[in-house]
């Protein structure tokens, strides 16, 4: 059983479209995250939800809107896609504790043409 699963794994779309990426974790964690990995492999946090509440919101364009229907799911919706949005988006989860660690999904590679 995959601990953190994301769909789709690959997404190719045109500029201006709207797309969503879904994430689910079966680890019983209370916190979920979206990280973005750009073409140079640089990983940067975008959002985090704890028990469905947004707790981390980095400087991300408001075209990106996360939604957490419950603590096991965190989706990412992106409006009006731009070329610069092409990246690998990683979902992750953790339990809030000082010695916690992130468990990552396999990533969703988004290509905007």
């Amino acid at each position: 059983d995959t601990a953190v699963s994301q769909t789709p794994k690959y997404l190719v779309t045109q500029m201006g479209n709207d797309k969503s990426i879904k994430c689910e974790q079966n680890l019983g964690h209370d916190t979920m995250y979206w990280y973005k990995q750009d073409s140079k492999k640089f990983l940067k946090i975008m959002f985090s939800y704890n028990n469905k509440e947004l707790i981390i919101n980095e400087t991300v364009p408001n075209r990106f809107s996360p939604k957490s229907p419950d603590k096991a799911h965190l989706n990412l919706h992106i409006n009006s896609l731009e070329l610069g949005d092409s990246a690998v988006y990683f979902c992750a989860s953790s339990q809030v504790r000082v010695d916690g660690e992130l468990f990552f999904g396999e990533g969703s590679r988004l290509t905007v043409l």
Binding site: T31, K41, F42, L43, V96, V98, E101
Partner: protein, 115 residues
């Protein structure tokens, strides 16, 4: 700006060679430190982590890392690499120590081990 630096972007080694990957950070105060590995086509996995206590941390697959507070460093080591260690290695720092994993990652080091 506060950051995490990995100075080796690409490393090529032969099997059985020793490995040391550098990681330096610029955050003051108490930080939590991590090394993650990303094997080709796979997700990031935790290799090891440091929170407190013994500054020499042992992780999975024979990896270890040493936290040197005075040097703001957390270098990753392995005495003898294998072909299967070919991967991208990321150092990460949690500068807030709140329990929420708002990690700051380095830019990664791509390791290629030739058989």
């Amino acid at each position: 700006a506060q950051s995490v630096s990995q100075h080796n972007h690409h490393v090529i080694l032969s099997e059985a060679a020793s490995l040391e990957l550098g990681c330096n950070y610029s955050y003051g105060g108490t930080v939590n430190l991590f090394w993650y590995v990303q094997y080709p086509g796979q997700h990031l996995q935790l290799l090891l982590k440091y929170f407190s206590g013994d500054p020499l941390v042992k992780g999975i697959k024979g990896f270890e890392a040493e936290f040197i507070k005075s040097k703001f460093s957390f270098n990753l080591r392995k005495p003898s690499v294998q072909w299967s260690d070919t991967a991208e290695y990321f150092c990460a720092v949690d500068p807030m120590n709140t329990g929420f994993q708002k990690l700051v990652f380095g830019t990664g080091t791509r390791l290629l081990v030739s058989p």
